[in-house]
Symmetry: none
Subunit: 439 residues, 2 copies
């Protein structure tokens, strides 16, 4: 392996393999994940290519990328079936005319994998223990497909499986130790905000976003979450200091709009606030149908602060499970501040939780009216022995988008209520529309 | 333009341009959209590359892709700022040593664009009217950046803007008429299965998966769902017939393992089965925390067959909301077939639904034991006036993976129960472990 000089980051190409990628049947989220990880460990992502499961095309891409980069990460094409050809293509590049060899440790791994699961190993799986002469298998604790390591001249090649839950641990275990460059870094930080539009946030950030600024600052938006992205380059020490200084400037500019950093889920932040205050949470969901609960329970350890909840999709369930009154439904409708408040109140009383979140709305595509068009949603947050704050939102987008935005903004409302800012103006809601009842 | 013979689809490469793509800051959804559109109009998507905003690298990629394809679609790098270099790279390829020329119609377009919006045109925008000699601008009704058309030898090149709302209409207006091949098509179909491993499915498909077969058949796996992908080429009529014939063969080989086609969600299939039988559904979720409900309510119109449910995350909620007995929890634990059965039974009785799904398990990372390691999950399906089938699974993977697989397999168990195959062996479960109680 050629050690890269500490002033020049190693350029690493990423090659994604699979007909389904080339044909656009699935998105290649592996490639962008790898790009971010490579930067984190001090490498510079180079070219990215996506090639079909065709032996000649694959071999050509490996050769070309190895010729113009310092290392190469390949994902996909290591499955047990005949349409998986990464092994064969690698053979053509590193041992042209040779034959794939069966790796005894690989066979052992496969036998053990099936044995531990009490299943017979299909003969086709033995293909997964094959590798070119001179190459070596990479351990896969999470699946049947071992990776393959090899060298094309001085260029290290890592062939990883396609499934993200197998690829990511193998990157951390094998690729990171081999390619990490402790002496230099491209460091990035993401600060996540919710409840504010991208252009308003840009105004707050002002000159921090100038293109020629170092470290650079940019913003990206997704499902109501607007993230500030900071990127610093240099020696590890320089980059770390410069990153910290710019992050601090961004934090001053955006204040409590920032809820978390570097992918921290909003639900985890809400959980931390609850834990600090020794409070518990319940959910009562109509239009989100369990999505808020799913986001909350995605967080490991959420059982310490989340009790559970109700998916009151039908009106009958709103009445019998959380005590919404028929008169309220008749007078104001299921999609109303009053119904949302009663749902949240019922969530508190039925579970004994300290905080309850309720959602009710028109996710679409049908069910809208002039007064309550598709995208109209009420979110209520109830605090035990205190107030219930219900807020009307209007979310643009299709059913899936409306539901995800609802779940995120419901967690945002909860966060601001816990921070003592329950009526703070939020994107897609009208601040004057906050409806307050006693619990 | 060289007309492609109707027997051979034109191979079209896609080149995505932008630092933010190479660095993994945003996903490149343009490329997969283009791949699908190219197939729709009878072309074959070739290689896909992603390159940073660097003039030399861009020019090299354009040259290489033009050498191995019949046409090239480039997206991005046409903005007004100095980091947008697609024009300059194209110049280097089609008129090396020449200068970019200002296109009078392009200047006109830009002036009109700003005039109609009552804004002064920044001088930098004039860059967007530049093109190499011999190239031509492509009209952009939706933004300031015109596209650029050119030829590299006989290969047509289309440079389109990066923003999808500008790129997509320009593709339809300019690229489709130029490349569409009405006499020929590349058609694809996806058949989705659940509960079976990729290699077992491959054995069932047998020779259908041979690499040299036309139409081609491959498989991909994600979260327990294994999809069979069929691709047929030829004249539109031939391709349609060949696709239908191969799909029928795959259907015969895989039988009821196939639940749906072309992206149809499993929850929609369960919903259709329920509607046909005039049945309603309730969910009782512990380890999935609302994820099954969220998948179900992602389906538009699910209110016709889904009543709602309970997120019984804490044991207290299992007892008070769905009547799980304390003795059951004490004797067997929260993660047990008995508890899952009582959760499902309670789901029926508390909601009046005809079918109830219950999930309880150890999603991790902590909470596992020797007898019930992380990934151990019980899924129960209860049918009113019938049986409750509880099944033990062991899912590999991290918390997020275990939860998603649980939700998918819970829907799969429900589907097989509705089809009268409640004890069918499923991937990640032991068939002998089906525990049956009366509702």
């Amino acid at each position: 392996m050629s050690a890269a000089p500490s002033s020049e980051p190693r350029r690493v190409a990423v090659l994604s393999v699979g007909d389904e990628l080339v044909l656009g049947q699935i998105e290649d989220s592996n490639a962008s994940w790898l790009a971010r990880e490579l930067q984190r460990i001090g490498c510079m992502p180079g070219e990215r290519r996506t090639v079909a499961d065709e032996r000649m095309l694959l071999a050509k891409a490996m050769r070309e990328l190895a010729a113009s980069h310092d290392a190469l990460v390949v994902t996909g094409g290591l499955g047990p079936t005949l349409d998986d050809l990464t092994r064969e293509a690698l053979l053509d590049v590193v041992d042209a005319g040779g034959e794939l060899e069966s790796d005894p440790a690989g066979v052992e791994h496969l036998r053990g994998w099936f044995e531990r699961r009490g299943r017979a190993m299909p003969a086709s799986n033995l293909r997964q223990a094959l590798r070119p002469r001179g190459a070596w298998l990479l351990d896969n604790p999470n699946g049947t497909a071992p990776g393959i390591g090899a060298r094309i001249g001085a260029v290290e090649v890592f062939c990883l499986p396609g499934p993200p839950n197998e690829m990511k641990p193998m990157f951390a275990r094998v690729v990171e130790p081999a390619l990490a460059c402790p002496g230099r870094a491209v460091l990035t930080a993401a600060l996540h905000t919710i409840g504010v539009g991208e252009s308003v946030l840009a105004e707050r950030l002002g000159d921090l976003m100038r293109r020629d600024r170092q470290p650079s600052v940019g913003t990206t938006a997704s499902d109501g979450i607007v993230s500030i992205r900071v990127r610093a380059e240099g020696s590890a020490d320089q980059a770390r200091e410069a990153l910290a200084a710019t992050v601090a400037e961004c934090e001053r500019a955006a204040g409590s709009l920032i809820y978390g950093r570097d992918g921290e889920p909003l639900a985890a932040v809400v959980g931390r606030l609850l834990l600090e205050r020794n409070l518990t949470l319940a959910t009562v969901e109509s239009c989100t149908g369990g999505l808020v609960g799913a986001m909350v329970t995605d967080i490991a350890g959420s059982s310490a602060w989340y009790l559970g909840g109700f998916v009151t999709y039908a009106n009958e369930r709103k009445m019998s499970d959380v005590g919404v009154r028929r008169e309220t439904l008749d007078a104001h409708g299921a999609v109303s501040a009053q119904t949302a408040c009663e749902m949240a109140r019922g969530g508190l009383s039925r579970t004994g939780a300290d905080v309850a979140i309720a959602t009710t709305g028109v996710a679409g595509p049908s069910g809208g009216s002039d007064a309550k068009p598709v995208g109209t949603v009420y979110v209520a947050v109830a605090l035990r022995d205190g107030e219930i704050y219900a807020r009307r939102f209007h979310f643009p987008g299709d059913r899936i988008t409306v539901r995800r935005r609802t779940a995120h903004l419901a967690l945002a409302c909860t966060r601001f209520a816990l921070l003592g800012e329950p009526t703070r103006p939020l994107l897609w809601s009208e601040s004057e529309a906050v409806h307050v009842e006693r619990t």
